[in-house]
């Protein structure tokens, strides 16, 4: 899998590149700013771009703009945005149209190498990866009339993992249950929340997020 990294902190850029290399990725570009990244995205066939949200020159929203541009102009390239703060509003901007091939994670997640590498793979494959903080913010949000109270604790766990972008297999592995059991949980949750069932896992992410945000 071919990956490009845009991160202005040298320490992290090197670390990321090393861990992805060891995990079997082909790191084709290491960029210090968004312009360089866009140049590489246009020049090389890529599976996924990992983008720091804060990039030079102003360290404000250059990274986010680059990520949105890649999603618009190179839909086949997965985009994983990394940040030292995760914000619901930004997640919504990134996932405005679809949850396919997009991820938004706290930088801290890098150090859980296995989890991180599987998130990168998932995004490169067209799936999604949403930081647990975002999902827990949404799940624990105060509501006038909270429909989530109808869910059992196990169903809640499955809902959270679904929202983070996990596949049925991923959920099964995490919760140490069978995929058949996961499928059952998923259909119960959709029924309880009154959501129409959707086809792909990334569409499922969008449906769950939209529900949680409403």
């Amino acid at each position: 899998m071919r990956v490009a990294i845009a991160e202005d902190g040298v320490l992290l850029r090197e670390g990321l590149s090393r861990l992805l290399g060891e995990a079997g990725f082909d790191v084709v570009a290491q960029c210090g700013d968004a312009d360089e990244l866009m140049l590489k995205v246009r020049s090389y066939p890529l599976d996924v771009a990992i983008v720091d949200i804060r990039l030079p020159p102003t360290h404000s929203d250059e990274g986010l703009r680059a990520a949105l541009e890649i999603r618009a102009s190179h839909p086949s390239v997965g985009v994983l945005v990394l940040s030292q703060y995760v914000e619901l509003g930004l997640a919504m901007k990134l996932l405005a149209d679809s949850a396919e091939g997009v991820g938004y994670l706290l930088k801290d997640r890098i150090s859980d190498v296995n989890d991180f590498v599987s998130s990168v793979r998932r995004v490169a494959d067209g799936g999604s990866a949403l930081d647990p903080i975002i999902v827990s913010t949404l799940v624990s949000r105060q509501r006038d009339d909270d429909p989530l109270t109808d869910l059992t604790p196990r169903e809640r766990d499955v809902l959270v993992l679904m929202a983070e972008g996990s596949s049925n297999q991923g959920i099964a592995d995490k919760l140490v249950i069978t995929t058949r059991a996961v499928e059952k949980y998923v259909s119960t949750i959709f029924a309880k929340l009154g959501l129409p069932s959707t086809g792909t896992e990334s569409r499922r992410v969008l449906a769950v997020l939209a529900f949680l945000r409403a």
Partner: protein
């Protein structure tokens, strides 16, 4: 009280002495003699009886015209010796007299009178265009006057050369009535055009001035305009054989002599203004607010364009009553400035119509009467300017603090946070290499947990120092997360442009965050709304909850700090918190 104040008129050249009384008397006597001569000539002239109509009417009107200009010119000269307007009016009066010599039966005076016949209307044009100081500054107007004088004298001499003026014409050479008649038509038409152009100049000047004229002045300028219009009409009528030329001539004489009359009325009003002064004193005795002082003075001095500039020594500038600095140089363009001192200390400057310089006693009396009120207003202006200065410095202090916070947050982001993440990553990779040593792996994993906790804490600290998402992505994105984490369900409405100015975004952000924190701590509310909108030049931030109300708005630094931020940007923060009625916080911050 009145004796403590003094006013000095800062008019350039105002020091020139008025004409001596012997000069005034001599000119007045000459004017009377001239009037007498015109009167006699008119009654005895065949031409007057034949062509101009009633000799007695014409005689009286000629005398009226001569005397009104000479006498009013004398008054103007005495009042404003620095101005050339008075002497110019006197000259116009005597020119009119020389013009009437055309009714003489002797060759020399007749020839002089005839040659000057059309100079008279041009001199009137000159007077009207040279108001108020007797000088013409605009190049185009000077050219107009030169052309008018040339046409009046030059073409008249040409006509006299070709005859048609009877036996007393000394210049007559080869008689040719046809040529003379054509030249006359051209001459009359041209002078009419000059008069109409003169009206144009008056209108243009008035439009350009922009400021309202004192009433006596606007009447005077109107009189000038009507006079010129009558002249143009008279000459066109004479050139192209219009009816009632004699009657139009009478009406023109009357109109032209009106201008000095209006001028005199203006001067007479100066006397009447003493009664307005009494009104001012009465007004001052009531509680006249500093902002109404200007209006009261403007009424008393009958100058709607009047402006007051208060002297603020500590800022080394003049300012309006609100303490806003004024530039006296630009403001005083085309106006006179009177400086007002009290007990030797500068209080204010009065910017007024230059014509007020004719009434120095009135000006001095009015400013003296208003002395204490002016001093009060000056103090208010000084106070306001001081407050404004304070607001500015508070805004600068807050901005400097904000800048420092941003820098700290950047340092944390680029330094400690990045190093900790890299360290944690290093530990994890080490952990994977130690698959054979579970004990070491467990300890490394524990170390990583510690780092994760530190990172979470550091993130909270960094966010507390400065919310990076706000400067990176604006108010809407920043509020979205804040509201999602609020202790009660919050309905968020944001209707502003993508990005606002940073100090404004920061202030609005903290107003919302502090209010939501308060709702969690004190309000016992079950829901709240946050509404941020941009309307009518303001960004309005409003947070309303349905809690118990009765919040403590005095104690604690939270609300005070918010008010500081909002007020430093020229806005205001208000809190309604009736017991049992919920709490509503509203910040309004000016924003273009």
């Amino acid at each position: 009280m009145a004796s403590a104040a003094s006013a000095s008129v800062a008019n350039a050249g105002a020091e020139r002495a008025p004409p001596r009384s012997t000069v005034v008397e001599a000119v007045a006597a000459a004017g009377l003699v001239a009037g007498g001569i015109s009167f006699t000539l008119a009654l005895r002239s065949d031409e007057v009886a034949g062509q101009l109509g009633e000799p007695l009417v014409v005689a009286m009107l000629s005398v009226l015209l001569t005397l009104s200009y000479v006498l009013c010119g004398l008054v103007a000269w005495s009042r404003r010796p620095a101005s050339r307007f008075g002497p110019l009016m006197i000259a116009a009066g005597f020119t009119n007299f020389f013009g009437t010599l055309v009714w003489s039966h002797y060759a020399v005076p007749f020839t002089v009178g005839q040659a000057l016949d059309f100079v008279t209307p041009v001199v009137f044009l000159h007077v009207f265009l040279a108001f108020p100081n007797g000088r013409v500054r605009e190049r185009s107007v000077r050219l107009l006057l030169v052309a008018a004088y040339t046409t009046a004298i030059g073409l008249e001499l040409v006509r006299m050369h070709f005859g048609e003026f009877g036996p007393h014409n000394l210049i007559e050479q080869d008689v040719n009535p046809g040529v003379a008649e054509s030249v006359r038509k051209v001459q009359l038409t041209l002078i009419s055009v000059y008069c109409l152009l003169g009206i144009g100049v008056l209108v243009a000047r008035r439009l350009r001035g922009g400021r309202p004229l004192r009433r006596s002045l606007s009447l005077l300028v109107d009189a000038f305009g009507v006079g010129l219009l009558m002249l143009a009409f008279l000459f066109l009528s004479a050139a192209y054989g219009g009816p009632w030329v004699a009657q139009i001539r009478w009406a023109t004489f009357v109109t032209l002599s009106l201008a000095p009359m209006v001028f005199l009325i203006g001067l007479l009003q100066a006397r009447l203004a003493r009664s307005a002064l009494t009104g001012l004193v009465v007004e001052l005795r009531t509680d006249l607010s500093p902002s109404d002082l200007r209006d009261a003075l403007a009424r008393t001095l009958r100058d709607p364009s009047l402006e007051l500039a208060y002297w603020l020594p500590q800022f080394d500038t003049y300012a309006d009553v609100e303490g806003r600095p004024l530039d006296l140089v630009t403001l005083g363009r085309g106006r006179a400035t009177t400086l007002i001192d009290r007990q030797g200390v500068r209080v204010a400057a009065l910017l007024h119509d230059p014509s007020l310089g004719d009434e120095p006693e009135l000006l001095a009396a009015a400013t003296a009467a208003a002395g204490i009120a002016l001093e009060n207003a000056r103090l208010q202006a000084e106070l306001r300017a001081g407050l404004e200065e304070l607001r500015g410095s508070r805004a600068r202090v807050i901005a400097a603090g904000q800048k420092e916070r941003k820098r700290l947050e950047r340092d944390l982001h680029d330094g400690a946070q990045q190093r900790l993440i890299a360290l944690s990553l290093e530990l994890n990779m080490l952990e994977q290499q130690l698959a054979a040593e579970p004990a070491a792996q467990a300890r490394l994993d524990q170390a990583r947990q510690e780092i994760a906790l530190s990172l979470a804490e550091l993130r909270a600290v960094a966010h507390g120092i400065h919310p990076a998402v706000l400067s990176g992505h604006g108010l809407h994105v920043a509020l979205e997360s804040m509201v999602a984490r609020a202790p009660v369900p919050v309905h968020l409405l944001v209707d502003v442009d993508d990005r606002l100015e940073e100090p404004l975004e920061v202030a609005a952000y903290y107003v919302v965050s502090e209010s939501i924190a308060n709702i969690g701590k004190h309000a016992h509310a079950s829901s709240a709304t946050v509404d941020v909108r941009h309307t009518d030049g303001h960004v309005v931030v409003e947070i309303v909850d349905n809690g118990v109300g009765g919040a403590d708005t005095e104690g604690g630094t939270g609300l005070r700090g918010l008010a500081d931020r909002v007020e430093a940007l020229g806005g205001r923060l208000r809190v309604w918190t009736p017991a049992g009625g919920g709490t509503r916080v509203k910040a309004e911050i000016p924003c273009a």
